[in-house]
C-alpha cells in the first residue's frame, strides 16, 4: 500500500490505538473471548499490533470481524479498557475502507442500514434478500434456505414488497449524521 494510504489508515486507527495503549498484555481478553478459537490473531495480539503502530497488519488480520460483541473482555480487562468498542471501531474503519476482504461482514451491515433508512425499521426478510443478492455468492441462499423454510412455516416471513421510496424522517436523520460526521 502506498505511504499516503498508510498515513491515512494510521490516522483512522489512532483513536483505537488510544483505547488499548494501556494494555499490559495479560491475555485476559484472549482467554475470555468465545471466538478466539477462530481468530488468526488473538485480541491481545491485535492490541499489540495497534500499540506498535502496525496498522497494515491489523487490517490484514481481520480477526476483529469475529468479535460478537459479547463484552466479556471489556468486563474482565484488568485495565478497564473498552475492548469491545475497539473491536467495533476496527469494524467501522474497515467499513469505511470498504475492504473487499470483509465483504460478508460489511455488506451485511450496509444492507441492514439500507433497510433501516428505507423504512425506519428493519424488514428482516427484505434485508436478507438484499444481503444475499449483494453477496453475489450463489451458494449463500442455500445456506439459509432451511431457516427460511422454518420461518415461513411459522408465518414469520414478511412478504411485503420492498418499498422503493425512502422514509423521509430517516433520510433527514442519516443526512444530518453524515453532515455532522464529516464536518471539520
Amino acid at each position: 500500500m502506498k505511504d499516503a494510504e498508510n498515513v491515512q489508515l494510521a490516522e483512522a486507527l489512532a483513536p483505537i490505538r488510544d483505547m488499548v495503549k494501556a494494555c499490559i498484555q495479560c491475555g485476559t481478553c484472549s482467554a475470555s473471548c468465545p471466538n478466539a478459537f477462530a481468530m488468526a490473531d488473538t485480541p491481545r495480539r491485535l492490541w499489540r499490533m495497534l500499540q506498535a503502530g502496525e496498522v497494515q497488519m491489523v487490517l490484514k488480520s481481520g480477526s476483529f470481524t469475529l468479535c460478537s460483541a459479547c463484552y466479556t473482555c471489556t468486563l474482565r480487562c484488568p485495565r478497564g479498557l473498552p475492548l469491545t468498542d475497539a473491536m467495533s471501531a476496527l469494524k467501522q474503519v474497515v467499513a469505511h475502507q470498504d475492504a473487499l476482504r470483509f465483504a460478508s461482514t460489511t455488506l451485511f451491515y450496509r444492507k441492514f442500514m439500507e433497510s433501516v433508512r428505507r423504512h425506519g425499521r428493519v424488514r428482516e426478510t427484505e434485508f436478507m434478500c438484499l444481503y444475499l443478492t449483494a453477496m453475489k455468492n450463489p451458494l449463500l441462499p442455500f445456506q439459509f434456505a432451511p431457516l427460511g423454510l422454518k420461518l415461513f412455516s411459522r408465518k414469520k416471513l414478511d412478504f411485503r414488497p420492498p418499498s422503493k421510496g425512502g422514509d423521509a424522517r430517516m433520510d433527514a436523520l442519516f443526512q444530518k449524521v453524515h453532515e455532522l460526521e464529516n464536518a471539520p
Binding site: R17, K21, A22, C23, I24, Q25, C26, G27, T28, S30, A31, S32, A36, F37, D41, T42, R44, R45, R48, M49, Q51, A52, G53, E54, M57, L75, R76, C77, P78, R79, G80
Partner: protein
C-alpha cells in the same frame, strides 16, 4: 512509670506495631500498644511460614541486648516488656492535642471472660451450642461462640464472640472457676428503631431483634421515623434506603440533626449498594444487603450494643503516635463478577486460607486434601487477584503476593510431596526484594514450580471429576486449558475500610488508593506532626519492609520526644542491685511458695503430691501455699515468711507474668533476686487444657497436676543451682560512626545526632550526597536536589555531626558499645575514633557494562548517562524520534543474579520524562518482568497510556543491538505478536542495575559478611534486616540492598534506631543467660569460637584464655554444645541442673 500515660502510643499490634514498640521501649520510652484484635501479631500470626527459611522467625525481633527486660519466648504466645503496656481488644476512639501532648481515648471491647480466673480448661467450649466460622482460619473451620482467639496465644485465654453468642448461659454454669460473666442483662435498655416501607421486612427484622431482648420500635416511612426520633431517644436505627417519599439517605441526614449520637445502619438492595456506601459519608456506620439473615443482623446489633455497654473510655496522653494498623486483604467474593467463584467453589481458596490449610494448627492439620477427600495433586496459584486491576480501583501492585505464592508452592510440595504439580500464573513475577530472585529461581529449578505467564480469569468445575478447569492464553496466543484440584488466589491488599475515618480522626491524608500518605522521601512520616506510621498502613509491605519502617517510625517518634523536650533519653542503666549476703558456699535452702491464682488452679492442683515431691529434695526447706501471691496480704506474708525462715533461695510457682513481682519480694526480704525463680504453673495448665487430645475432664485434671508438678520440680532445679553472678558489663561510648555520606549515611547521622549523640561521618569521595547528586526527580515527581540540599545543610550545620570527606575506614576493632576505628584521611592523615556503634552506609553505584555495544556505540547509554544527558544540553539539541530501553542488562542472571529493584521504575520515569519533552518520540521498553511494585504500578499505567510500548524478552532470546548510521537498530522477538521486530532507534538505554560499594576487605574491616550478591549480609533477612550478625554494626541504604530513595531513608532511620538502642545505655550488660568459660577446664581448642554465630568469642593470646563478650553473646548455647568438657557453659544451664531436669522429664 505511669501505665496510664504511655509516653508513646502505638496503634496496631502486628509485626510493625510490636517492632516499633520494642524499639521505643528499648530506648527508654514507655509505650502503650493498642490492638483491636484480642491477640498480637496481626496478619503474620496467621502465617506459620515465612520466606526465605520457610519457617517462622518472629522471635528474632526480640531484644538481643538487655534481654532480661522482656520475655524471651515465642512472640505468637505474647509479648512482655517492662516498658510496653498492652491493650488488646481495644480501639482508639478519639485523638486530640499536638505533638508532646496527644490526648487519646481508648475503648476496650467486652470479653466476658476474666483472664485471671480462666484456666483454659475448655469446659465452656464443650457445652457451647453455637458453631460459627473461625476467622483465624480464614473461615475454613468452625469454632464455638466461646473460643481461643489465636491457637498459640495461651495467656490470652478464652473469649466470647458477642455476635455469635446466644446467651444461653451454658458456659457460665460449666466454668469450674466462675470466670465467665455475660453482660446482656440490660439489652432491653438498648432501643432500636427499624425503618422500612415494606411491612414484611419491617416486621421480621423487629421480631428477630425483640426475640434477642432488644427494645424495638418500627416506622413505615422516613417521616414517621423522624417523628419518632423527635419524641424519644434511640441508640440504633436500621434504615431502608429505597422508600417512597423521603428516601433513606435523606432521612439519615435529618436524623443526624435530630439525634446526632444515634448509630445508623443502612438496609439496601443489591442495586443500591453504592448509595449505601455513599450514606456512610453522611454518618451511617454500616450497611446490610437485603435479604439478610437473622445472624447477620443480630451480630451487627450486638456489636453496637456492646459498644453501648462498654462506653467507658480510658484516657491517656501520648507524646507521639505510631500508627501500624495494617491493611485489609482483598475479598474476591466482594467482586460482583467473582468469576473464579471464590466462596462458591470449595476448591477455590485465598492465599491466606491456603496458609491456614498448610498450618499444622489450621483446619486441615497441615494435610492438603480436597473437599471430596482425595489428596490434592495439582494446585494453581493465580496472581494479581484484586491487584493491578483498574476495574477494581486498584491501580497498584500489592507487592507481596508473588513471594507468598512461591513460598506457598514450595511448602505445598513439602507437605504433599514431589508429585504435587504447582503452577503459578502471573503477569509479572515481581521478585524484586533482597534475595527474592534467587528464591524464585530455586523454586523453579530445585522446587519444580512452574511459572506460567498468563492471566487466568475464571474457573469452571467439572461435574464428574470435581476438578477445576481453567483457560489461559500463552504469550504467543495459544489457548490452553488445565485442570486443578485446588486454586489459590493470590489476593492483594486493600486499605482498611476504616481508613477515611482514621484519616479524619488522626488528621493524616490518604493517597489515591486510600492508604495513608507519607511525606515525600520519608515513608514513616504522615502529614501530621507527631504522628508516624509503619507497615502496610501506608500500603503493601512484606515483613522485612514493615520491620524496617517500624524502626524508622520509632526513631522519628523518639526524635519528636527528644526535640520537643530538648532533653535526650536518659542513659539507661541496668537495674542497680544492692549487695546481698554471699550464699554461694552454703548448701541450697529453698523456700517454695505456691500460688493458686485466686483459687483458679485449685481445681487441678494436687497439693499433697506437690509437697511430697518437693520434700524429696533435701534442698527444700519449706513449702507454703498462697491464694494470691502477687498482691496484697499474701505478698506481705511471703516477705515475712522469708525473713523468719531464712531460706537462701526462693521458688515461687505462679503465672510467668508475676516473675518480676517476686524478684521485688526477694529484694524486700533481703534476698538476692537472682536467687529467686518463678515456675510457671499456669502455661502448662493452659497447654494441657487446650490440647486436642480427647480426654475426659478427670484425665485432663490429672494431666494438669502432673505438668504442674514437673514445672515446680524444674523450677526447683533451676533455683537450687542458681548463681548470683553479676553479669559483666561493657561501658558504652555514646558516639556513633557512620561510614558513607550518601542519603543513607546522612539520614542515619541526623537521626542519631538529633537524639543528642555525636556522630562521625566518614565519606570516601570529596562530597556528600552520593547517588542523589545525579538524580533529579523521583518517579512520583518529587524534586531530589532541593531535598538533598536540605539534608546536606542540616548535616553540615548540625553541632553533633562531624563529616570527614576523602576519608576511609581502615580498621574497626572492639565490640558493641565500644569500638575503636582507624580512619585514613586525605594527605595520608590518620584519625582514631572511639564509638559505641557503627552504621555502614557506603552505598553502591550503577553497574558498568560493555554489553549491547556500550562504550563503543555512542548511541548506547546507561540509565544514569541518560539522566545526566536529559538534564544537560547533550540531548536538548537533538531530535529524538525513537528510544529503546533494555532492562536487566547483566542482571538477574549469573554472575549478578539479583534484581536491582529500581531500574524498572527508572525506565518508566525516564520514559515519561522523554514523552513530556518529545511528545512524538516512540519508546520501547524491553523487559523480563516489569518490577513496578506498590504504587509505582500507577506510573506504569501512565506510561502505557502515554503510548510507551513494553516488549517482554526472555534470557534465551535477548535483544540484539547493531550500530546504524544514526543511532542503532534493535532486534527483538516479540512473543505477543510472535515475530521479530527491528526497531530503528536514536538511542538505546541500558538498565544495568546496582552494585554495592562493599568489598570483601570492607567486610573484614567491619566484621560483616557479604551475601551471595556481595551486599551487606544482615542477621536475618526478615526480622533483623539492618543488623549485622556482629552486634553493634548496622547496614542501611543500597549497600544492604537495592532501594529507592525513600526506602533508603527508611532503612537509614531504622539503622539509626538500632544504633540508638546501644547508645542510650551507659553500659551494655549482658543478660543473665550468657555463656562463660571455666578457664581451668578449657583446653583452648577454640571449637567454640568457630561455633559462635555472634562472633562473641575470641582467644586472648596474652592471657591464653577464651574470652566471651557478654553483650554480644546471646546465650544460644552453641559453644556449650560443642565444648567437650563443659568448659563453656551457659549460665542458668549448668550440667548438673540439666541432668536433674532430664530426670524430671523422664520420670
Amino acid at each position: 512509670m505511669n501505665p496510664e500515660a504511655g509516653e508513646i502510643l502505638v496503634v496496631g499490634g502486628g509485626v510493625s506495631g510490636m517492632q516499633a514498640s520494642l524499639e521505643l521501649a528499648e530506648t527508654g520510652h514507655d509505650v502503650m500498644l493498642v490492638e483491636r484484635a484480642p491477640y498480637l501479631g496481626g496478619l503474620v500470626s496467621q502465617l506459620d511460614h515465612q520466606f526465605p527459611s520457610n519457617h517462622c522467625g518472629m522471635c528474632r525481633m526480640l531484644p538481643m541486648l538487655h534481654r532480661d527486660s522482656g520475655e524471651q519466648s515465642c512472640l505468637r504466645k505474647g509479648l512482655r516488656h517492662d516498658r510496653i503496656h498492652i491493650r488488646l481488644s481495644t480501639d482508639v476512639t478519639a485523638v486530640e492535642g499536638e505533638p508532646g501532648n496527644f490526648r487519646v481515648s481508648l475503648r476496650k471491647a467486652a470479653s466476658c471472660v476474666d483472664p485471671i480466673q480462666c484456666i483454659g480448661c475448655g469446659a465452656c467450649v464443650k457445652v457451647c451450642p453455637v458453631e460459627t466460622p473461625d476467622d483465624f482460619n480464614a473461615g475454613l473451620s468452625m469454632r464455638k461462640a466461646i473460643f481461643q482467639a489465636a491457637p498459640f496465644n495461651m495467656l490470652n485465654s478464652y473469649r466470647i464472640d458477642p455476635a455469635a453468642c446466644t446467651r444461653c448461659g451454658a458456659c457460665v454454669s460449666a466454668c469450674p472457676t466462675g470466670a465467665i460473666h455475660l453482660t446482656d442483662a440490660d439489652r432491653g435498655a438498648f432501643r432500636i428503631l427499624v425503618v422500612d416501607d415494606e411491612q414484611i421486612v419491617r416486621d421480621s427484622t423487629a421480631e428477630w431483634l425483640i426475640e434477642e431482648g432488644f427494645a424495638v420500635e418500627k416506622a413505615a416511612s422516613g417521616l414517621q421515623a423522624l417523628d419518632l426520633l423527635g419524641r424519644s431517644s434511640y441508640h440504633l436505627m436500621l434504615l431502608d434506603i429505597k422508600m417512597p417519599g423521603m428516601d433513606g439517605v435523606e432521612v439519615l441526614k435529618k436524623a443526624k440533626d435530630i439525634a446526632p449520637g444515634i448509630t445508623v445502619i443502612m438496609m439496601t438492595a443489591y442495586a443500591t449498594v453504592e448509595t449505601a456506601i455513599e450514606a456512610m459519608k453522611s454518618g451511617a456506620v454500616e450497611y446490610l444487603i437485603k435479604p439478610f439473615d437473622p445472624e447477620m443482623l443480630l451480630s451487627m446489633a450486638d456489636k453496637h450494643y456492646q459498644a453501648f455497654v462498654e462506653a467507658a473510655d480510658e484516657k491517656i496522653t501520648a507524646g507521639a503516635i505510631v500508627l501500624t494498623g495494617g491493611a485489609a486483604l482483598y475479598d474476591p467474593s466482594g467482586d460482583p463478577r467473582n468469576t473464579l467463584e471464590y466462596g462458591v467453589l470449595p476448591q477455590v481458596v485465598t492465599s491466606l486460607e491456603f496458609e491456614r490449610m498448610l498450618s499444622p494448627a489450621g483446619p486441615c492439620k497441615g494435610l492438603l486434601l480436597r473437599a471430596d477427600g482425595k489428596p490434592v495433586s495439582r494446585i494453581a496459584w493465580i496472581q494479581c487477584v484484586g491487584s493491578r486491576d483498574l476495574q477494581l480501583g486498584a491501580d497498584y501492585c500489592s507487592s507481596i503476593c508473588c513471594m507468598i505464592s512461591i513460598k506457598e508452592a514450595l511448602l505445598a510440595r513439602e507437605v504433599s510431596g514431589e508429585n504435587l504439580r504447582a503452577d503459578i500464573f502471573f503477569t509479572d513475577m515481581r521478585v524484586c526484594g533482597k534475595g527474592f530472585h534467587r528464591y524464585k529461581e530455586l523454586a523453579e529449578s530445585a522446587g519444580h514450580i512452574r511459572f506460567i505467564r498468563g492471566r487466568v480469569h475464571s474457573a469452571i468445575p467439572e461435574a464428574v471429576s470435581g476438578d477445576l478447569q481453567i483457560r489461559y492464553v500463552s504469550l504467543s496466543g495459544i489457548e490452553k486449558e488445565e485442570s486443578y484440584d485446588l486454586i489459590v488466589l493470590a489476593i492483594g491488599q486493600r486499605p482498611h475500610p476504616d481508613m477515611p475515618r482514621l484519616a479524619e480522626r488522626y488528621g493524616f491524608s490518604l493517597n489515591a488508593s486510600g492508604f495513608a500518605e507519607s511525606l515525600p522521601f520519608s515513608p514513616s512520616e504522615t502529614h501530621r506532626a507527631g504522628i508516624f506510621m509503619a507497615g502496610s498502613f501506608s500500603g503493601l509491605k512484606d515483613i522485612r519492609e514493615s520491620v524496617i519502617q517500624a524502626s524508622a517510625a520509632a526513631v522519628n517518634a523518639s526524635r519528636t520526644m527528644s526535640v520537643l523536650s530538648k532533653s535526650f533519653p536518659q542513659h539507661l542503666d541496668t537495674k542497680d542491685i544492692p549487695p546481698f549476703p554471699d550464699v554461694s558456699r552454703e548448701p541450697s535452702r529453698v523456700l517454695a511458695a505456691i500460688c493458686s491464682c485466686d483459687a483458679a488452679l485449685d481445681v487441678c492442683m494436687d497439693a499433697a503430691s506437690v509437697v511430697q515431691r518437693l520434700r524429696q529434695d533435701p534442698a527444700v526447706q519449706d513449702v507454703l501455699f498462697f491464694n494470691h501471691l502477687c498482691a496484697g496480704q499474701d505478698r506481705e506474708s511471703l516477705i515475712q515468711e522469708i525473713r523468719q525462715r531464712h531460706p537462701n533461695r526462693l521458688l515461687t510457682a505462679s503465672c510467668a507474668s508475676c516473675a518480676d513481682i517476686f524478684q521485688e519480694v526477694a529484694v524486700a526480704a533481703g534476698m538476692d533476686p537472682r536467687l529467686s525463680v518463678t515456675a510457671d504453673i499456669r502455661m502448662p495448665v493452659l497447654c494441657a487444657m487446650s490440647s486436642s487430645k480427647a480426654l475426659d475432664t478427670a484425665a485432663k485434671m490429672q494431666q494438669c497436676a502432673d505438668l504442674m508438678n514437673s514445672a515446680i520440680s524444674e523450677g526447683l532445679v533451676r533455683v537450687k543451682h542458681a548463681d548470683a553472678v553479676k553479669p559483666s558489663e561493657t561501658a558504652v561510648t555514646a558516639r556513633a560512626l557512620v561510614a558513607g555520606a550518601g542519603i543513607a549515611g546522612m539520614t542515619a547521622a541526623l537521626a542519631i545526632a538529633d537524639h543528642g549523640y555525636p556522630v562521625d561521618v566518614v565519606e570516601r569521595s570529596d562530597r556528600v550526597g552520593g547517588n542523589l547528586n545525579w538524580i533529579h526527580h523521583t518517579l512520583d515527581g518529587h524534586d531530589v536536589q532541593p531535598y538533598l540540599e536540605e539534608i546536606r545543610q542540616k548535616v553540615e550545620s548540625h553541632p553533633r555531626i562531624q563529616v570527614y570527606t576523602r576519608a576511609q575506614v581502615m580498621g574497626v576493632w572492639g565490640e558493641a558499645g565500644h569500638f575503636y576505628t582507624t580512619v585514613a584521611g586525605p594527605d595520608n592523615s590518620v584519625m582514631q575514633f572511639e564509638h559505641g556503634s557503627v552504621i555502614l552506609a557506603t552505598g553502591g553505584a550503577e553497574a558498568s557494562t560493555s554489553l549491547y555495544g556500550h562504550g563503543t556505540n555512542p548511541a548506547v547509554l546507561t540509565q544514569k548517562e541518560l539522566e545526566t544527558a536529559l538534564h544537560s544540553d547533550a540531548l536538548a539539541s537533538r531530535e529524538l524520534s525513537s528510544v529503546v530501553m533494555i532492562q536487566c542488562v547483566g542482571s538477574r542472571e549469573a554472575p549478578r543474579n539479583y534484581c536491582s529493584r529500581v531500574c524498572c521504575q527508572t525506565a518508566v520515569k525516564q520514559a515519561l520524562a522523554l514523552k513530556s519533552q518529545y511528545p512524538d518520540v516512540r519508546i520501547y521498553v524491553l523487559y523480563r518482568d516489569m518490577m513496578l511494585y506498590g504504587f509505582s504500578e500507577s506510573a506504569y499505567t501512565r506510561a502505557r497510556r502515554e503510548g510507551v510500548v513494553f516488549i517482554p524478552y526472555s534470557l534465551d532470546q535477548k535483544p540484539e543491538v547493531v550500530p546504524a548510521e544514526t543511532g542503532a537498530c534493535v532486534r527483538v522477538f516479540d512473543p505477543v505478536s510472535d515475530r521479530r521486530l527491528e526497531i530503528e532507534t536514536d538511542i538505546v538505554v541500558l538498565a544495568t542495575g546496582i552494585v554495592p560499594a562493599f568489598t570483601s576487605d570492607d567486610g573484614d574491616i567491619f566484621g560483616v559478611e557479604r551475601d551471595p550478591d556481595r551486599f551487606f549480609m544482615e542477621a536475618d533477612a526478615k526480622w533483623r534486616p539492618v543488623d549485622a550478625m556482629k552486634t553493634g554494626v548496622f547496614g542501611c541504604g543500597i549497600v544492604n540492598a537495592p532501594l529507592t530513595i525513600s526506602e533508603t531513608v527508611a532503612s537509614a532511620q531504622a539503622a539509626a534506631m538500632r544504633a540508638l538502642r546501644i547508645l542510650t545505655r551507659t553500659t551494655l550488660a549482658s543478660s543473665r543467660i550468657t555463656a562463660v568459660v571455666r578457664h581451668s577446664l578449657c583446653s583452648r581448642c577454640q571449637l567454640c569460637i568457630a561455633a559462635c554465630p555472634y562472633q562473641a568469642r575470641v582467644l586472648d593470646t596474652e592471657a591464653d584464655q577464651i574470652r566471651v563478650n557478654a553483650a554480644m553473646c546471646q546465650g544460644c548455647g552453641a559453644c556449650a554444645s560443642i565444648c567437650p568438657n563443659s568448659a563453656a557453659v551457659v549460665e542458668g544451664f549448668s550440667m548438673p541442673q540439666l541432668f536433674e531436669m532430664i530426670d524430671i522429664a523422664v520420670q
